[in-house]
């Protein structure tokens, strides 16, 4: 019923001889097969599987030496059921995921998960679609993953701002999450509220982690998030059956552990003090640091600098655009995109001027008062002669 984006690019194009595992029970359906079995059934040899694991290690930002451990774990991994909820979003996250060049390891991972509900990708609509969601929730109670993209109107906001099949986003999230093993919030809207939550936040948007209590929430932020990171997190869950190590924003440290600045190939120019000062000056052409053009790389934690976009083709800084800090909370309201990181939002010049004028007025008043005091003191000054003083003694 659900059309996975990757169904037409399933592995198996290889003409390798199949090596059926002797222990593989033949009666197992696709839902109960381990990943190893499912790949081998699709004609993937052990060498192919090892290669897949090497690429998966790269994707999970693990050292290549982990490939064997991944191979052992993946042999035993089961297909998890995934319910994907899209709320106040622009579909950029889904686009990023499905437009990643194919066929790739990402698609192999997508093939091995059972994407049971995704209202943008699924063929079913209306009641049938909602039925699929309920069925998946029922059949996999306690073990399915919920992926959310988009923020949603909070419990106190008008639910009418965003509904699906007449169900408010809030109700759908809370209902779906009840039986979930974990929630993966994908994209900056779901993780931090993103654009809908930007000032003045007309729809009362909140992030997923603001609402979910008592369930693990993994945040994959970014606008859009890196497809390799989305699949990397799913692969990690699939491989090791547990949630990855997270940072203070519940983002997996494997991908969000280092700042763009620390992994940027233009970093040597920052360290040497060589900066582009406009988008077409000599420095920009020579690929110098973009700090002065507003690069938020120093405060932004994401994997773009090494994983890059479009199959490793490039990433914003490589194409000469400063990092916007899209994977950080409230990046829309964190000052101008093309203002240096040290520049505060707001009009500091006006503050300074107004405060200066007020200060000058007060200062003049205080000064004049003191002068008046001095003058009146001088006026009421009484002179005495030495004789008068001596008489008083």
């Amino acid at each position: 019923m659900v059309k996975s984006s990757a169904t037409d690019t399933a592995p198996g194009s290889s003409n390798e001889t199949t090596h059926p595992t002797p222990s593989a029970p033949e009666h197992r359906g696709p839902d109960t097969m381990t990943l190893g079995e499912s790949l081998r059934r699709n004609g993937v040899s052990r060498r192919g599987f090892l290669k897949f694991c090497a690429a998966t290690a790269s994707m999970m930002a693990l050292p290549p030496s982990m490939a064997l451990a991944i191979a052992e774990a993946l042999e035993q991994a089961r297909r998890p059921s995934v319910i994907w909820l899209s709320f106040q979003e622009c579909t950029g996250c889904t686009e990023a995921l499905t437009r990643s060049f194919s066929p790739t390891v990402e698609n192999l991972i997508l093939d091995t998960i059972s994407l049971d509900y995704h209202h943008t990708l699924q063929a079913a609509a209306g009641d049938a679609a909602e039925h699929a969601r309920e069925q998946a929730m029922h059949a996999n109670a306690g073990s399915y993953l919920v992926v959310v993209d988009g923020s949603l109107p909070g419990p106190k906001a008008n639910p009418g701002y965003s509904t699906i099949a007449g169900i408010s986003n809030y109700d759908m999230l809370m209902d779906t999450v009840k039986g979930a093993a974990a929630v993966v919030a994908v994209g900056t809207c779901a993780t931090f509220g993103g654009l809908p939550k930007a000032d003045p936040n007309p729809s009362g948007a909140v992030a997923v982690q603001d609402l979910i209590k008592g369930k693990p929430v993994i945040n994959v932020s970014g606008c859009p998030p890196m497809p390799m990171v989305i699949t990397g997190v799913l692969a990690q869950y699939l491989t090791f059956g547990k949630l990855p190590e997270l940072d203070e924003y519940n983002r997996p440290l494997a991908f969000f552990g280092q700042s763009i600045h620390d992994r940027c190939y233009r970093r040597p120019f920052y360290d040497k003090g060589l900066f582009a000062e406009s988008f077409d000056d000599e420095g920009a052409k020579k690929g110098w640091c973009l700090y002065r053009l507003g690069c938020k790389g120093p405060m932004t934690y994401n994997a773009c600098a090494t994983m890059k976009w479009n199959g490793g083709t490039s990433w914003p800084v490589e194409s000469g655009a400063p990092c916007l800090g899209c994977s950080e909370p409230n990046f829309w309201d964190a000052g101008g995109f093309y203002e240096a990181l040290s520049v505060p939002p707001g009009k500091s010049g006006d503050t300074l001027l107004a405060a200066g004028v007020a200060g000058a007025a007060v200062g003049a008043g205080v000064g004049l008062m003191a002068r008046g005091k001095a003058k009146s003191a001088a006026k009421s000054h009484q002179t005495v002669t030495v004789d008068e003083l001596e008489q008083q003694l």
């Binding site: 940072d247 203070e248 924003y249 700042s259 600045h261 620390d262 920052y270 360290d271 040497k272 003090g273 060589l274 900066f275 700090y291 002065r292 120093p298 405060m299 934690y301 950080e328 909370p329 409230n330 309201d333 964190a334 000052g335 203002e339 240096a340 990181l341 040290s342 520049v343 505060p344 939002p345 707001g346 500091s348 010049g349 503050t351 300074l352 107004a354 405060a355 200066g356 007020a358 200060g359 000058a360 007060v362 200062g363 003049a364 205080v366 000064g367 004049l368 003191a370 002068r371």
Partner: protein
């Protein structure tokens, strides 16, 4: 509160508030000094007051031999860290960007490694100055809590900036936020303590020189 919330708080409302307190406090004090003026001198001028004032304004940058002989440590270390602090404040690229966004004026900056080295020297100078103050019996006797306060706020600005530049405090938004907060404390404390000397030292020098200039004597 997350580290990014903290950074946004220090960069946003706290910065505007600190800027306002700094500007009001400082301008009140300076305008008060200027409006108060000086007592009228009825004696016939024997020289030009303005020229004398400006000359002294500049000449006080030179240490006279007597002062140097009496306190060489204070002169050398004091000069080094004052110059270092001013360079780091005015010639570091992120600071130039901040000043341009606030005042609308900009000037060329120094390469980061140069500012980095100068900041390290400044920190060492400040530490040496504190140690000297604590070890020297006369200086320790003369020191008030205010002296230690302004040493601390000055040192913290430089230290947090150095740590933020080297990304020692993780996550970075926390490190940068701490530096901005330290700078805001410096700004708020400035108009109400001896730190006003940053501005009033020049008024005092001018008045001093003007008095002598009018009398036609050297200062």
């Amino acid at each position: 509160m997350t580290s990014m919330d903290f950074l946004m708080l220090t960069k946003g409302p706290l910065f505007q508030a600190a800027l306002a307190i700094f500007a009001i406090g400082l301008v009140v004090r300076i305008v008060e000094i200027l409006v108060l003026g000086r007592a009228h001198n009825y004696a016939e001028p024997r020289g030009n007051a303005v020229v004398g004032g400006l000359r002294t304004l500049y000449k006080r940058f030179h240490t006279d031999a007597g002062t140097f002989k009496a306190a060489p440590f204070d002169v050398v270390v004091g000069t080094i860290w004052h110059i270092g602090f001013i360079i780091a404040l005015l010639l570091f690229i992120p600071h130039v960007e901040l000043i341009e966004s606030t005042l609308g004026i900009a000037w060329p900056a120094l390469p980061n490694p140069v500012v980095d080295a100068i900041t390290a020297i400044t920190l060492l100078g400040l530490m040496a100055a504190l140690v000297h103050r604590l070890m020297h019996p006369v200086k320790r006797f003369l020191s008030t809590p205010e002296d230690y306060l302004i040493w601390a706020v000055t040192f913290l600005v430089a230290l947090t900036g150095y740590l933020a530049y080297h990304r020692v405090i993780n996550p970075y938004p926390l490190g940068l936020g701490l530096h901005i907060l330290a700078a805001e404390i410096f700004l708020v404390v400035l108009p109400f303590t001896k730190l006003t000397h940053i501005f009033t030292a020049f008024i005092a020098r001018y008045y001093n020189g003007a008095i002598f200039g009018r009398k036609g004597v050297q200062s």
